[in-house]
């Protein structure tokens, strides 16, 4: 089931009438989620990603725009008639019911032709419990489960009705770091096995990048960029997206383009064509640096962090916007801390130029 969002807009009226300022939570969001894909809505808090999810679920009504599931226009449908499964951020498992009762609960609400016998319900519940690997825990209460197990129960409860679309609100935010890693793979596996179109919301770019087929980066209610995670990472459309994706984050410098040359401070780092002379903001991914005694970029070396496979070199540069410049290089390279400086050449496809005012990307050709 593909999900189509058409000019989706949500405006919250201001609480204080005198102030009279309404909040545009989601602004003119158009996007098509292909059938059977896992899509991550990504952005800092307050960017409208959760609101978008809740509009797809039907718990919130859009101010404008339409929502389609396949060819059906579901914009006016109430949430129970949309055929969605929703996993809440804190799971919202009914605390007084056992795992089994929690999973059975949605089935017991079915009416008319969909009505199931007790055995059918139990079979369905046990099947979905097996899928998320909690069939051993069916008689427990939610309070007797770990966070990761509760998460699985919540997913099982959302899946048991065989929804057309599965929605997950910050599915990993309540888990500790190790469980998070495990659970995100689990979500990916469950999604692949069921083939249900899935949308999830997260503020953690690593989480979104690692499991999504597609990501949507949002900021202040406006979609910044959509696409496959790697494509968005490699080809950000503006400074915000470039800064939001990637750990360690991108290094940002003040620089300029002059006579087809890119300067960071006084250092000439690249020769390009197709860009007029101007001041620019320059972003360089940490993996875009190469140690090169003849390299154009000279930084003051401050620290070297060995991480086994890679080495993280921390240095400073007067034109850097951030306090430090962090590069990641292969551990085979030896960095001499005593030298006090380090010289880099820059991989051309890892450096991005942005307009200083609009922060939009400036595309160039390498000479």
């Amino acid at each position: 089931m593909k999900v189509v969002l058409q000019n989706l807009t949500k405006i919250f009226p201001s609480r204080d009438k005198k102030a009279g300022k309404e909040v545009v939570a989601v602004n003119d969001f158009t996007f098509e989620i292909p059938d059977g894909k896992l899509v991550g809505l990504l952005g800092p808090s307050g960017c409208g990603k959760s609101t978008t999810l809740y509009m797809i679920s039907g718990l919130q009504k859009p101010t404008g725009g339409r929502i389609f599931f396949g060819e059906d226009d579901v914009t006016e449908l109430t949430t129970e008639n949309r055929g969605i499964g929703l996993v809440f951020q804190n799971y919202a498992l009914y605390p007084h019911m056992t795992v089994k009762q929690n999973i059975l609960f949605p089935l017991q609400n079915l009416k008319g032709a969909d009505k199931m016998t007790k055995d059918q319900m139990l079979e369905r519940a046990y099947n979905v419990a097996k899928l998320v690997q909690i069939d051993e825990l069916m008689e427990r209460k939610p309070s007797e489960l770990s966070g990761g197990q509760q998460q699985r129960v919540a997913i099982a409860r959302a899946l048991v009705k065989m929804p057309r679309v599965l929605l997950l609100d910050e599915p990993l935010s309540n888990l500790d770091a190790r469980l998070r890693l495990q659970t995100r793979e689990e979500i990916r596996r469950i999604q692949k096995e069921t083939g249900i179109t899935t949308v999830f919301v997260t503020h953690d770019q690593e989480e979104a990048m690692s499991i999504s087929d597609m990501i949507v980066v949002m900021k202040l209610g406006v979609v910044q960029q959509t696409g496959k995670p790697q494509d968005v990472y490699d080809d950000p459309t503006n400074l915000f997206v470039a800064k939001f994706l990637g750990t360690p984050p991108i290094n940002v410098f003040d620089g300029c383009v002059k006579d087809g040359k890119v300067y960071i401070g006084q250092d000439k780092v690249l020769e390009i064509s197709g860009v007029a002379d101007q001041d620019v903001t320059i972003g360089i991914r940490p993996e875009g640096f190469e140690l090169d005694p003849a390299g154009g970029l000279t930084c003051q070396l401050s620290n070297v962090e060995v991480m086994g496979r890679d080495v993280s070199v921390v240095s400073t540069h007067p034109a850097s916007v951030n306090p430090s410049v962090r590069s990641i290089i292969d551990a085979d390279n030896k960095v001499d801390l005593g030298a006090g400086i380090v010289r880099y050449s820059i991989k051309p496809h890892k450096i991005f130029l942005f307009n200083k005012e609009t922060e939009e990307r400036i595309y160039f050709e390498v000479k």
């Binding site: 679920s57 969605i84 499964g85 009914y94 007084h96 019911m97 609960f105 949605p106 017991q108």
Partner: protein, 312 residues
């Protein structure tokens, strides 16, 4: 844990409360136990309080309480009022609390209105109820008025009912008491249940909405279980309060605790105890202990039942 060096400070701060509790709560309880088991305590003390008498220990006071002709009436009235008022008031309070919780406009105002009985003097309320059910005050009939309740009955095509005047029937008296006690008990229960409802996580209801849960099922399968700790609390305190029923009956029927010509028809355990104080302390103490035993047993049963059906 407080450092042991500074523990005396903690005791010092607690001292005023502890001293008052010892004088006005702990000692009376011990003294009640003592008096209840001393044979003929009252008579001897009345004879001359300055002479130190030797009393024999025994259960004569308890025997006297149980043999007292009015005691069974007291017990029956107390239990009947309890059994009738606690379920009715709890059910009504639950309905009102849920209704209040589901409306937005005027919620504050209505909350305040529903809370009014709680802060109003119960004797004053009793007099108003007496007027509504048409009490004959001071023995003189007031033919110009039959009370608003009878007026309503008449408008609906029913006959007047003698609710509480001379010659009124027992069940009519009980109805008056039940209406009054329930009305008086509502505010506290509504307050507790409304507080409970407002602390229920809204996401449970959203989850139920996503699953298309019918309203009634949401109420019985989600709201009631999540509210069960408050319900248990309200029911248990309701029973305890019900067994101590006294002032509400005095408030409506006066100290005769019954309609004119049928004094003490609505007597209760606490009424019995109050009248015994002053001339028969031993008997009063014994009756108080019996009441305590009843309340204790009922509360234990309540707790046992609620343990099974309550989700904490």
């Amino acid at each position: 844990m407080v450092d042991s060096k500074h523990q005396w400070k903690a005791w010092l701060y607690l001292a005023p409360a502890i001293v008052l509790l010892l004088i006005f709560t702990v000692w009376p309880i011990i003294n009640t136990l003592r008096m209840a088991f001393l044979e003929g305590y009252t008579t001897a003390k009345e004879a001359n309080p300055f002479i130190d008498y030797e009393f024999t220990v025994g259960i004569g006071n308890f025997v006297r309480v149980i043999q007292y002709p009015g005691f069974m009436t007291c017990l029956q009235n107390t239990i009947l009022l309890c059994v009738l008022t606690v379920p009715i008031s709890t059910f009504l309070a639950l309905l009102i609390a849920v209704a209040l919780n589901s409306i937005k406009p005027l919620q504050r105002l209505l909350q305040t209105i529903f809370f009014m009985p709680y802060v109003t003097n119960s004797i004053a309320i009793g007099m108003v109820f007496a007027a509504m059910f048409n009490m004959i005050i001071g023995g003189s009939a007031r033919p110009d008025s039959v009370g608003i309740i009878n007026n309503v009955l008449e408008a609906l095509g029913f006959e007047y009912i003698n609710w509480m005047n001379a010659g009124s029937e027992y069940w009519a008296n009980i109805v008056v008491m039940v209406v009054y006690i329930v009305w008086n008990a509502l505010p506290f229960k509504i307050l507790i249940l409304l507080g409970g409802l407002q602390s229920v996580n809204k996401q449970y209801y959203e989850a139920a909405r996503v699953d298309g849960t019918p309203k009634w099922r949401v109420f019985t399968r989600i709201t009631i279980p999540l509210l069960s700790p408050m319900l248990a609390y309200v029911i248990i305190t309701g029973f305890i309060g019900g067994f101590k029923e006294y002032s509400s009956i005095v408030g409506i029927f006066g100290e005769s605790m019954g309609p004119v010509g049928n004094d003490y028809a609505l007597d209760t355990m606490v009424g019995f105890i109050y009248r015994a104080i002053g001339n028969q302390e031993g008997t009063a103490s014994a009756a108080a202990l019996i009441l305590f035993a009843i309340i204790f047993v009922v509360t234990m049963i309540n707790l046992a039942v609620s343990k099974k059906s309550t989700h904490y």
